[in-house]
């Protein structure tokens, strides 16, 4: 299955990419991580999955459990601040 992965703000700078199409074995977060490990260094993947990062799926915060589906828009969000 293929998903779109977005990197926002500092994570965009870190990966050098705004967006990426990614093939995953299945809809699990471990499959997402494996797919990213094919593409990026272990340090960069660790940064993407650091405890500060939140994931969004189709523009809602991802709950950490719901399986991803083909065509999903998965976004890596560093800590936010507005105002």
């Amino acid at each position: 299955m293929q998903v779109r992965v977005l990197f926002l703000a500092r994570l965009r700078e870190l990966t050098g990419l705004r967006e990426l199409k990614l093939d995953m074995d299945d809809g699990s977060s471990s499959a997402l991580r494996r797919a990213l490990e094919h593409r990026f260094s272990p340090e960069l993947v660790a940064a993407l999955f650091s405890e500060n990062t939140r994931l969004a799926c189709n523009q809602s915060l991802w709950d950490g459990h719901k399986p991803f589906a083909a065509g999903d828009e998965i976004a890596f969000l560093p800590p936010v601040t507005g105002g």
Partner: protein
């Protein structure tokens, strides 16, 4: 209750927003409160040249909508406007406007302050400052998070 949320690269005109809200609420409102956040020319003692604000279109607007709905559930509000700029800004530029009208003063003040505390910690924006000392991504501060927690419970 009327809610108006806009995320834009354009600057806003507080006088015009105020006048429009006043006309909408008419004689129902006893209190209007506006907050505007501005780009300061320094961060501690480190001069700031540029503030760059980034958002995630769609998700950002939804995150603000959720925050406003939470305020509306807590206080009897007549009209809420949240305008948030994105893109490149310079010192003294306007970043955000939160403008609340209510029948009474305590609700208007509380809701406006609540909205700002939640925008600081929960709205999907990222800030990047270009300072004398280099480029810095800004995170919400401990103080911001404590202020937000002060509203719960």
């Amino acid at each position: 209750m009327r809610i108006d949320i806009r995320v834009s690269t354009d600057d806003f005109d507080l006088g015009a927003e105020w006048q429009a809200q006043r006309l909408r609420v008419g004689g129902l409102a006893g209190a209007m409160v506006a907050f505007v956040g501005l780009v300061r020319d320094r961060h501690s003692n480190d001069p700031v040249q540029v503030l760059e604000l980034e958002h995630y279109p769609g998700m950002t607007e939804n995150s603000i909508e959720n925050i406003v709905q939470e305020a509306a559930a807590r206080w009897p509000l007549l009209d809420v406007v949240v305008l948030h700029r994105v893109g490149r800004m310079l010192a003294a530029d306007q970043i955000v406007l939160v403008q609340v009208a209510s029948a009474h003063r305590p609700a208007a003040f509380s809701a406006c302050e609540f909205l700002m505390d939640y925008l600081k910690t929960g709205a999907v924006f990222w800030k990047r400052e270009e300072r004398d000392s280099g480029v810095h991504w800004i995170e919400s501060t401990n103080d911001d998070r404590q202020r937000r927690e002060g509203w719960s419970g």
